[in-house]
């Protein structure tokens, strides 16, 4: 399978990365090189093989459902580019 420039632009949109015409052109070539490389996986017979979900067999750890952390609003917003009263500020999303 290979991708064309329109697919690259669509994927960039899904990934929320702005691309111009030059970027999209370059990426089309690069992505096709990588997709060409992974193509060889089609040679492998995977009939009846379970997909891997965990490299080390283990059961999910459980813990008591109780509060172990919190009251850190100051810490949580400390690295944000724009904040106000412990809220993250973003451009207007609802008119």
């Amino acid at each position: 399978m290979s991708v064309d420039i329109d697919t690259v632009k669509r994927v960039a949109r899904l990934a929320r990365i702005a691309v111009d015409e030059d970027d999209a052109n370059r990426m089309t070539g690069e992505l096709n090189a990588i997709l060409g490389f992974v193509e060889q996986l089609n040679e492998v017979d995977v009939t009846g093989i379970e997909p891997m979900t965990s490299v080390i067999p283990m059961t999910m750890k459980m813990r008591q459902d109780e509060v172990t952390d919190g009251s850190k609003a100051e810490d949580i917003v400390a690295n944000a580019p724009e904040t106000g009263e412990h809220f993250f500020l973003v451009p207007k999303v609802v008119e």
Binding site: R16, L31, L35, V38, V44, V46, I56, K72, A78, N79
Partner: protein, 493 residues
Amino acid sequence: MTELTKFTIAEIRAKLAAKEFTALELTEGYLAAIQTANERLNAYITVTADKAREMAKASDIRLAQGGARPLEGVPLGIKDLFATEGVHTQACSHILDGFKPRYESTVTANLWADGAVMLGKLNMDEFAMGSSNETSYYGPVVNPWRAEGGNKDLVPGGSSGGSAAAVAAWLCAGATATDTGGSIRQPAAFTATVGIKPTYGRCSRWGTVAFASSLDQAGPIARDVRDAAILLKSMASVDPKDTTSVDIPVPDYEKAIGQSVKGLKIGIPKEYRVDGMPSEIEALWQKGIDWMRDAGAEIVDISLPHTKYALPAYYIVAPAEASSNLARYDGVRYGLRVPGRDITEMYENTRAAGFGREVKRRIMIGTYVLSAGYYDAYYLRAQKVRTLIKRDFEQAFDAGVDAILTPATPSAAFGIADQDMSADPVKMYLNDIFTVTVNMAGLPGIAVPAGLDANGLPLGLQLIGRAFDEETLFRTAHVIEQAAGKFEPKRWW
């Protein structure tokens, strides 16, 4: 003073106890060495001199009072992927511009609790995506090794290029690193240092910037096998904050060193004899086989038939996981924000300006293979192939093999801005051909220096072990180290 920086961690431990020098003197020695060398090598992106002195002074008090901890006063460098409280943590990406976490990663917290001293944060490929340290926002790291008679700058490998270069150039006694497809072992091989990627689940991933969560593992890069064992003992832990951290007590890895390998079965996988492999690598591998046999190990030929599919499967699984993990960099909660007309444009502009080319490429691949209609053809198939890769290893170990010996890399270190590699991303990816299988199967792997090529550049061998059997790796790697000797770069910087 600079001579202080030549001691191994084991030597530092003995000499601090014998009061031959103080922890502060040692730390000052390293800070002076960094000051002289870093402009040329670019291994550190931040030096935490005040913090280092403070920690060293605290160690001296402990040493005087007789309460020394396992790494008391040992100066370490920390890969920029580990969250360090109040200190630059950006995974060497522009998108995390100015990020200073309010918390400490479990791995580094373990090291400080054991008395280690932080010298600073080390350069790396952006978000650990790369095999040459050239994708860093802070520019490439220069390998302290140069070809005999040459003065060309070589890469130290990646993604833990700063860690490997700093250890090799005596700019820290040891370093933390991480390995998703070979990022500890390949740079270790390129710099004649020892690097171990432990079993998935051995070191907590909490507070380590995520790349591909099912593959990422932290481990040390050190001057020798014993130092790697000492560091891993402190880095590893059982951590309730990481659900994939495994509930097995951490053994005293150092005890494995010096134990005989007599009667151990060492597997030699024929699939690692790849087309176009330089004859020097082939010869080095044979030397390794001879050393193991001479030490009393039994050599057996094995087959790992799905080896060649590990790298292509990795380039589906790792980008897919990366595209999900890196979705959090949105210009809202931390790091860089580039304005736009609306919120979507703000996201797109931020991510376009904040991520470098290689990172964008992988996010794009990941987004594509996970997108509607392609999931089964790519991601699901790759995860099935991964099951087969793991099964290959299981069958070898079930047949009685104790460890597997392979080359660590398909070549020695190459030049910075190599034309072939920059023209074709897949060429760069092939650096990890011998290491990536181990991540796909979650197993432990160690790279140990084994010789120099015709140009005088280091080459390494890799040993792969059963899950949670790092001890056999330290034991066997030590045999290679004893036989091969140690290698040091000539100081030109």
